[in-house]
Amino acid sequence: RGRRNVLFIMADDLRPSLGCYGDSVVKSPNIDQLASKSQVFLNTYAQQALCAPSRASMLTSRRPDTTRVYDFNSYWRDQSGNYTTLPQYFKSSGYFTASVGKIFHPGISSNFSDDYPYSWSIPAYHPPSFHYEKKKLCKGDDGKLHVNLLCAVNVTEQPGGTLPDLESTEEAVRLLKSWANNDAPFFLAVGFHKPHIPFRIPQEYLSLYPIENMTLAPDPNVPEFLPPVAYNPWTDIRGRDDVQKLNVSFPYGPIPKDFQLRIRQHYFAAVSYMDAQVGRLLSSLDALGLADDTMVVFTSDHGWSLGEHGEWAKFSNFNVATQVPLMFYVPGITIPRDQLGESTFPFIDILTQPKYRFKNDKVRRNVVELVDVFPTVASMAGLRAPEHCADVSFQEELCTEGDNLAHTFRRRERG
């Protein structure tokens, strides 16, 4: 192979509540292991804390004012310009590109096709069990099934005996196996649905976070001098059966403290569940002998407020809503080739292996943005990074409004 493959992993609504970002509560051993062999950007920010605009922005490397995608009802190729996406760029460079799970926001904002065939060599895969995500499948205290926010389940009792991210992992592994012996390089994007609400997750992950160990956000009240326009009333969680029962006042709440603790417990458990899927995926990459010529990118579309400022959502400009994890594993660069052992990413089952320790060797503290991802991934994979856009670039199909961070991989951080 002349070029590096790319495994591009995205979580949904994941703030940097991860061990590798210094969080002492969250258990994320597999992402921490990836971070220990990656360059980790500690201060990365999304351009808008909403799925469709953020993903369109990151994947085209244009800011929302250039994509003109601010909601769920616009497709950038119709709305603003025929911009080239990150996967499209790889596809046009000879890569086989595939999307598993949620990479583009589905629906209107990706032309009901996840931007296929522009971006992908084959139609995007969506896990069939996602169909049930908003159905009455969560057992309530009354023993009946509800559409709840808090929805830890026995997976064997769910339709099909599975959950969306489990299915996405299986499909991604299946694709990796089918490509393991191909000569053509691949760009595989895997978008996990968690820790996005509802917290429909395997119930065993809750046991990692005993409720008596949970704490409230350090600043759980709406700040006194916050302008009302800056506040979001987190309407999406208010519609869930279990939250409706709380009779929380609109728009400021608050949510009762015991329920706040349970939301935080479920979010952290959802992170650990998603981490396990990342671990399954990376250990398969490893087992197939692909870890030494595949770069791995891990990030999220935006963050989520876990009670900070009295909010329970993204939908704002607060750091907790806009900050995301970002790391790049580039074999031979973020880890010397002679340190690539037989097993680079052994799966760590946090349910049975609670003790682990990793150290981040390469971190960058300077502020970066998700619009930087496109030129950086292209460059680190061995392709030419797009040129910087002109001030007005609606007619330019290929350019970037971000910075190519490739130079940061070899130079010491300044300032």
Partner: protein, 97 residues
Amino acid sequence: KDEEAIAYSQYPRPADTPQVNSDVPDLKDVKVMGYSLRSWDYRYTLWLGYNPKTFQVNVSDVHAGELYILADDPGEDKNIYSDLEQSVVIKKLSTLP
């Protein structure tokens, strides 16, 4: 290379006060856009009038502002925009593209 690293974000709102569509307003309902710039040291946000038909922001139509000094206030809980509204810092930041 010596320039300060800045990250930009933005968020649309349909009104100056929270209402049912404040979280995810349809484009046609957007009246205000909150533009943020953040560095290692601070987050500065201006909420400006916005026309969704022309996609134009009115930089002289300031609905609100936020300024958080992150070294003192990492959780962004003490908005000091009003305290420093007339200061040199704000004037300088307001002239950024």
